[in-house]
Amino acid sequence: MASAATRSPRLLTWFATSMIMFWLMIAVGPFVWTVWGSFKVQGDFFSKADWSNALYGVFTLAETGGTFTGSGYYGAWVQEDFWRNVLNTTIVVACTVVISLTLGTLCGYALARSGYRYAFWLLIAALVFRAMHHITLVSGYLLPFFEWNLCCRLTTTIVVLVAINQPFTLWMLHSFFLNIPKDLDESAMVDGCTRFRAFWHVIIPVMWPGVITTGLFSFLLAYNDFAITSMLLSSENQTMVPKIASFLTQIREQGNVMFAVSAVVSAMAPLFFLVLFFQRQIVSGLTAGAVKG
C-alpha cells in the first residue's frame, strides 16, 4: 500500500504530465513539421493563408498532381549535386572518428594510469583548449594554410577536426578508463606483457562500450561542425552543413526554399537513426564527465 507520503497530489501529477507533453511537443514538433513539409511545394510549406494546407497539400495537389512530391529532393540531390556533399561528409566524418579514437584511447589510457601531477595539468590544459572558440582557431589557421597551399583539402579539414576533437575525447575516455580496475592490466604485465600489449589485448576488449560512446560524440562534433568546414573547404569539396548554409544565399537570389528544406531533412535523417540506436550510449556519455567532475 502506498503511504500518504509517497502518493502524489493529483494537481502535481497533472501539472508534471502536461509540462512533459508540452516539452515533447516543442522538442519533436518542429522536426515532424519540417519532415512532413519537405514533401510539399513551397506554397504549402509556407502556407500563410491556411495552416492546414501544409497538412493536406492543397497547392502540392494542384501543382504536381499528388499530395506528396519529391521535387525538393530531386532538386537538391540531382540538380544541386547534394550527393557530392554527402560523400564528402562521409569521408571527413569517418576519418575523423577513426583517427581521434586511435589517438584518444592511447592518450586517455596513459592519463588515467599515470599517477603523476603533470597528468592532472595536461587534463586541465585540455579543458582550456576545449573552451577555445573554433572560429578563433580558424582565424589562426587560414593565413598559414593559404601560404603553404594546405587550404581547401579534405585531409586538412580531417586533421584539424581530429585535433579539435582531442580535448573532449581525452576527458571522456579518461573517465571511462578510470572505471576499469588497475589490477587487470597490472596482472597482464606481471604475466610478461609490455604496457602496450596489456593495453591492446586486455584493456581495449573491455573498453568497447566506452570507445563506442566516445566515437559517437566524435561523430557528432565532426558531423555538426560549421565554423571549421565552412572556412577550410572550398565550394568544390564542401561537406553538407556549409553547403546548406550556401543554399541560404541562393534562396535569396532564386527562391527555391524547398531545395534547402529537403537538404536539411536529408542531413537530419542519419542523426535521427543515431539517437534511435545509440540512445543509451549517448546518455551514458553525457553523464560520464559529470559524475566524475
Binding site: 522538442a27 586511435t102 592511447l106 592518450c107 572558440h133 582557431l137 565552412s230 559529470a290
Partner: protein, 342 residues
C-alpha cells in the same frame, strides 16, 4: 607508469593539440599586430576624345607583389586593437567627454560594433545558461515520475534538439517563425497585426535567438540531471519525507544539494558553449539585429578580402573573455587539487 612509456602513449594526441590548438593561438596573436597592405595606387592618364584626365587607379600587380613579399601584412602594433571596430579607445573617450549622463554614455558605447557584439554575447550567455538549468531540472523531475514504459521514448524525443546540427536546428525554427511559416503566421493572427515579423524587430530577434539557445541546450541539462536523479539515495529522501518535508522542500533541500556537482558541471559547459554562439545567427540571418563575437570573426574571414588582422584582434579579445569566464573554475579546481594533495 614510467615517464618514457607515458610519453610514448600521449605524444600523438598532444602533438595534434599543440599543432592545431596551441600554435594557432600564437599565430592569431602574431597576426593581430599586422594589418592588410594598403593598395598601391598609380596615376593613370585617361584620354577621351576631348581631353585627358588623370585618375588614381589600383596597381594590381604591384599590390600583389607587396603581398607576396610580406604575406602577414604590415606591422600595425596595437593599432588594430584600438581602432573603431575593436576597443575603440578614441571613440569611447570622445563619447565620455560628450555625453551628459551615464546612460547616454552607455548608449553611445553600445553603438560601437565590438561592444555591441560583446553585449549580445554576454546577454545570450547569461540568459540562456540559467534557463537551460531550470528547464533541464524541471523536465528531469517530470520524466522521473513517468511510468517506466514511456521513459525511453520520452528521452529519445528530448535528445533530438541537442543532437541535430545547430545550423539545421536553427533553420528549422527559422522557417517556422517566418512570417509565412506556421508560428509566424499564428502570432500575426493572435496579435492581430499582419505586419508582425520576428525578423524585423531587434528585441524579437534577440528573444528568438535565445529561445533557440534554450531549446538546443535544455536536453543536455535534462540528461545530466536525469542521470543524477537516479543516484539520489532513497533513504535520505525517505527520512526527509518522514520528517515532514513538502515536495518542494524535498527538491530544494535534498535533491538540489545532492546534485550540486552536476549543476557546476552543466554551468561550466553551458558558459563555454553559449559564449561561442555563431550558428543560430547564420541560420536566422539575424546579423543585422544581433551579432556575436564569433560572428564578427566569421564575417571578417568569409568576405572576398579576408581581414586577418581584424579577425585576429577580435579572436584575442574573445580568448581573453573565455579566460576570464574560466578563471573561477580553474581556481576552484586548483584549490581542490591542493586540498587532496595535502
Amino acid at each position: 607508469m614510467p615517464h618514457g612509456t607515458f610519453a610514448r602513449f600521449i605524444w600523438p594526441s598532444f602533438l595534434a593539440m599543440i599543432l592545431f590548438i596551441a600554435l594557432p593561438i600564437v599565430s592569431v596573436a602574431l597576426q593581430s599586430f599586422f594589418v592588410e597592405h594598403e593598395q598601391v595606387m598609380r596615376e593613370v592618364e585617361n584620354c577621351g576624345p576631348f581631353k585627358c584626365t588623370t585618375v588614381l587607379q589600383v596597381d594590381l600587380e604591384a599590390t600583389e607583389a607587396v603581398k607576396e613579399g610580406a604575406p602577414m601584412g604590415r606591422y600595425n602594433g596595437l593599432g588594430t586593437y584600438t581602432n573603431r571596430s575593436h576597443l575603440a579607445f578614441q571613440e569611447v573617450s570622445q563619447i565620455w567627454a560628450e555625453s551628459e549622463s551615464f546612460s547616454a554614455f552607455i548608449v553611445g558605447v553600445y553603438n560601437l560594433p565590438f561592444y555591441k557584439a560583446l553585449f549580445f554575447t554576454l546577454t545570450y550567455t547569461f540568459v540562456v545558461t540559467p534557463l537551460v538549468i531550470i528547464f533541464g531540472l524541471l523536465i528531469a523531475l517530470g520524466v522521473n515520475r513517468l511510468p517506466k514504459i514511456t521513459k525511453g521514448p520520452t528521452i529519445f524525443a528530448s535528445l533530438l534538439p541537442m543532437i541535430v546540427t545547430p545550423l539545421i536546428g536553427g533553420l528549422i525554427l527559422f522557417w517556422m517563425v517566418d512570417a509565412d511559416g506556421i508560428i509566424g503566421a499564428t502570432l500575426q493572427i493572435i496579435f492581430d497585426d499582419p505586419d508582425l515579423s520576428l525578423k524585423a524587430s531587434a528585441p524579437l530577434t534577440w528573444v528568438m535567438l535565445m529561445v533557440y539557445g534554450v531549446w538546443h541546450s535544455t536536453p543536455f541539462a535534462f540528461v545530466v540531471f536525469y542521470a543524477g536523479l537516479q543516484t539520489v539515495p532513497s533513504d535520505t529522501l525517505e527520512s526527509a519525507k518522514i520528517d515532514g518535508a513538502s515536495r518542494f522542500q524535498q527538491v530544494r533541500y535534498v535533491i538540489v544539494p545532492y546534485m550540486m556537482p552536476l549543476l557546476v558541471f552543466i554551468t561550466l559547459m553551458q558558459l563555454m558553449d553559449n559564449f561561442r554562439v555563431l550558428e543560430p545567427i547564420v541560420s536566422f540571418s539575424a546579423e543585422a539585429k544581433a551579432r556575436s563575437l564569433s560572428w564578427i570573426i566569421y564575417n571578417d574571414l568569409s568576405g572576398q578580402d579576408k581581414l586577418f588582422g581584424s579577425a585576429a584582434a577580435t579572436s584575442m579579445l574573445t580568448i581573453l573573455g573565455v579566460a576570464i569566464l574560466l578563471t573561477p573554475v580553474l581556481i576552484k579546481t586548483w584549490r581542490d587539487f591542493n586540498q587532496r594533495a595535502a
